[in-house]
Symmetry: C2
Subunit: 362 residues, 2 copies
């Protein structure tokens, strides 16, 4: 009971080990009766194939590598969970490999990883989906891989993406519809092309609505909370200042809100703020943040699915897969122009409630 091998199973079932192997690997050409005998023996001995032996003999590891370099814990965890859910169902394991996309040795690092672990395939997440040295190592070694949200050379391998630019467009249109004419934009990290792309949606919406794209209103951010704060300070120092700020991700939007609070601006009365990603912080800050939700787990699942299909030799007919983001309207956005009117008084519309009567208990 401690450890059953394929030999034990074969002996108990009265067949050869090759037959057991066939059953375990769901290969055809096994009579139903034989298969049943084998399955019974497997169950009886509680047999589990040894992955190392399998991998050594079969020259594949049943392990895939998940590469990432993303400061957002939530993003990474969502991706991991999506990948794992598919892998578990199909008997694969996942090796996580955080790395630094700016490391000049990154190609070497990936190369070593592949050769050491004998991983069968790789999933690349942004911004690694766009890192040349990694891509060329993968192609050179002919290792199957998929990319999540790549921005160029999309024919290289199967990939999944979302309609980021479109969602950014919708968000901007919504702000315009609320009466905002001067909408500041905090752009994403330039290395993070997929995030940077969101700017296109913003721009398109302005053009579409005959608003001029004012360079002063577009500030470079770097995806971090702090970069959002800094960008917001620049934007709010403009004269006239924007009445709305749209940040390319939630962390930067949160930074903008912090600056607004510290400046005594009310949100959304004096300033509307919108983000992108719907990270947990979006609904934990006050006021809750209007943002765009991306189907991160679903993307990861789809990507994994595409990779495993490749590994099983199935031709992946549709190399691309597009998933849709959705707008989440919360409390940080509102009509433009309500600000100045209430500027002099206490918080308008949100009267200071005597604490005892606060929302009436549980």
């Amino acid at each position: 009971m401690v450890k059953a091998t394929i030999d034990n199973v074969a002996a108990l079932a009265g067949v050869s080990i090759k037959t057991v192997s066939r059953v375990v690997n769901k290969e055809p050409n096994v009579r139903q009766g034989t298969r049943d005998k084998v399955l019974k023996a497997i169950a009886e001995l509680d047999y589990r194939p040894n992955l190392s032996a399998r991998s050594l003999a079969g020259n594949r590891s049943f392990v895939i590598g998940l590469l990432y370099d993303n400061p957002s814990a939530n993003y990474v965890i969502d991706v991991q969970d999506g990948v794992l859910s598919i892998c578990r169902a199909q008997g694969y394991d996942v090796l996580i490999h955080p790395c630094n996309h700016q490391d000049p040795e990154i190609g070497r690092e990936v190369s070593d990883l592949i050769r050491q672990t004998r991983i069968d395939g790789v999933i690349l997440t942004p911004p690694l989906s766009d890192v040349e040295p990694i891509l060329s190592v993968l192609e050179q070694r002919q290792l199957p891989f998929v990319r999540i949200a790549p921005t160029f050379d999309k024919a290289m391998c199967p990939f999944v993406e979302t309609n980021d630019a479109e969602a950014a467009y919708d968000m901007t249109c919504e702000l315009i519809a609320l009466g905002h004419q001067r909408i500041g934009f905090i752009a994403g990290h330039p290395d993070h092309k997929a995030v940077a792309h969101r700017f296109e949606g913003y721009r398109a919406a302005l053009v579409e609505n005959h608003l001029k794209v004012d360079k002063q209103l577009v500030v470079q951010g770097y995806n971090s909370f702090e970069s959002g704060e800094e960008a917001a300070r620049k934007l709010l120092a403009l004269n006239p200042a924007p009445t709305a700020i749209f940040a390319a991700n939630d962390d930067m939007a949160a930074g903008a809100m912090m600056v607004a609070h510290q400046s005594g601006l009310r949100i959304p009365e004096d300033l509307s703020v919108a983000g992108f990603d719907d990270t947990p912080v979006a609904h934990q800050i006050w006021p809750s943040l209007t943002t765009v939700r991306q189907p991160i787990q679903a993307m990861a699942q789809k990507a994994t699915d595409l990779l495993l299909k490749q590994l099983k030799g199935k031709d992946v007919q549709l190399p691309a897969s597009m998933l849709s983001s959705s707008m989440i309207r919360r409390d940080s956005t509102g009509p433009a122009g309500t600000g100045p009117a209430g500027r002099s008084g206490p918080v308008a519309g949100k009267p200071s409630v005597p604490r005892k009567s606060s929302s009436g208990g549980r």
Copy 2:
């Protein structure tokens, strides 16, 4: 160049494969000259040992399992990073295994994981460090493991912990020193013993300072933002209401702050709020949250270190390792009693600044 085996290296170096093996595994009893020859051959062929073969022959996998069931992405990522940093340096890989601590089949699941993957050891993170079925499977299979922040049977295996209760005690004392007499406490998830333990620190501080421990002021939470909101509503409905709320983690503290904001309470003038963990949200919300920072990565590193030492047969003399948390004082806490005075007017002390002059630009 595509794939070099130990035989190729041996041939090129003019030695036997066993000698190569010795060099690769840093075993003693190899003359320096021989070692150099082998290393040269390895470099020349760019040889990388095949892990599967190694694992099959050596009956160990050079892979450890990291088990967790924690809703906090930040916590999980920190642990992963800590574990990976040590493992990489020592040539180990990590298999991550999120799971559900309430699953009745959890023991079976872990058992299968071990037998399939042949992992060499396991790291248990809270709340899994306290899950009986997992512990018994591990002991039964005699698989080396370490626990992070276990709360019972600590002699079972090496472990690391922090002085949670002490930190909670310090935080509570600080609130008392600020003049708070009625301090609400939002307790952690009961299954999450380590978090639940923080209550002890709160209680001890009250007793120490001759304040009575009012049952009404202690509300059960479940570690989530939403449970924090609900608990805060109960606390703020009390008469008299607490002047400070100490939540057993940051997410719940953020929930409490949200409720306070919605009730028109000013933080910290009307209500001080403190959390625990120093998650990113703590400095991203407004006002920034006073909290306790735990050395999560360091704990994970220490735990991994202890595990790998075990795997290498070294006796781990010190089964326990205690790391210290530190208080992070931010803007969500302040002196008691400043609230009522300003209650009737607009936001006191934080005048509504005309936006143009907001903090003077960049």
